[in-house]
Subunit: 222 residues, 2 copies
Amino acid sequence: MKKYIGKKKQVYLEEHSIANLFSFPVEDYIEVHEYQRNDWIIQESMRPDFLFYVIEGKAKIYITHQNGKVSLINFINANEYIGEMELLHDVYYTKGIQASTKTICFALPTHYYRKQLLEDAKFLRELTKFLSVKATEMAAKYTQSLAFPLENRLADFILQTADERIYKERHVTVCDYLGVSYRHLQHVLRQFCDKGYLQKEGRNYQIKQFHSLKELAQVLQN
Amino acid sequence: MKKYIGKKKQVYLEEHSIANLFSFPVEDYIEVHEYQRNDWIIQESMRPDFLFYVIEGKAKIYITHQNGKVSLINFINANEYIGEMELLHDVYYTKGIQASTKTICFALPTHYYRKQLLEDAKFLRELTKFLSVKATEMAAKYTQSLAFPLENRLADFILQTADERIYKERHVTVCDYLGVSYRHLQHVLRQFCDKGYLQKEGRNYQIKQFHSLKELAQVLQN
DNA sequence: GAAATAATAGGAGATATCTCTTATTTTGAG
DNA sequence: CTCAAAATAAGAGATATCTCCTATTATTTC
């Protein structure tokens, strides 16, 4: 992790206005952190000392279960919070957060700002919206995972993540995210290829029948 | 649904202080609603006109999927909100909320109070905590459902809901909640009986080997 | 209180998904 | 650039879970 100081810090503070996040000044103790791909922003079960707000990049929330299985709970993108659970709750099992690209965050030392943050309607309103979206997304993912086989959920995921009709997520990440075994993911991807929905190109897959995938994905939605 | 008026309403307002929920007066337009078991407090896809706060009782959040499967997303208990998603978001797919016992709620017409509520730090702070707990719970349920078979999740559910060592939830509710088929739920319950963990008594089950269930349930936790 | 509806019970067979294993290819650290 | 570690690929067999079906027993409704 790198901590930006001096001019570089100033540039980030100026270019990413935090005036719409908080209604009190945080310049005194705010920090700007940069994490490299695969760095751990927060380690599992280690309570963080900061509330983070992601400016650039993308990260992953992981939890390790007692049976050794690892779940990728969700992705975190720019303009989202990290460490808000610990800010709100004295007792909380901290999940692991790993940068999946270079990630730059504002970091507010909760020691200094916790009290003020919890009094600030502007901050709380944004956080409330953020959390309500998260809760809704998790509920959707939960019920979808129980109501539909991988075929449907994978089709949805492929359409969401494909770039220019090319799907190129790593299988290991996807099976943690969709909660299935590596072997099964391979099996369903193979089916998609056999049916002509996808065409394998080295490590990537090209979408050949968009509408077929769309049809599979659509049944998830309301 | 019954709307309490006059003295009855006053009694509820006095006995369940809302002074710790809002920092502005809501007496003018607040209502007190009573729902009977199985009444729909909110119907799926019908945007509600109120923000509810449950005073007494218990309700269930349902969503119906396109394939006809119904998921019981979660239970709602006393001192929890209903309709907060619609308060926060203009666009939201409204889930169905059904009373599972007689349920009494405060009902704030959002038409009158929305603006003020979204400015009120006291309200927002409580709602933020509520939502963060919900998001965490949903994430836990989601990852557990993917990482563990029904055996473990059912053991946990039995221990959580059993009263005096007697488990008496309705199977239809439980399979919507745990996201498995009725048939499979029966199958695993039968296994628990065969192994001597439970003993069937009419419709109910008596817990015979607490520690065995505990062992199965414990692997879910962190 | 009888008829309709919902819940429980369980057989039989299908399928979605997992575990274990072995081999090859790619990536990352030094 | 090299070697170890991680990711990919895929066979084979096990098991968790589902669908469909048919009875029987509660519960609700008129």
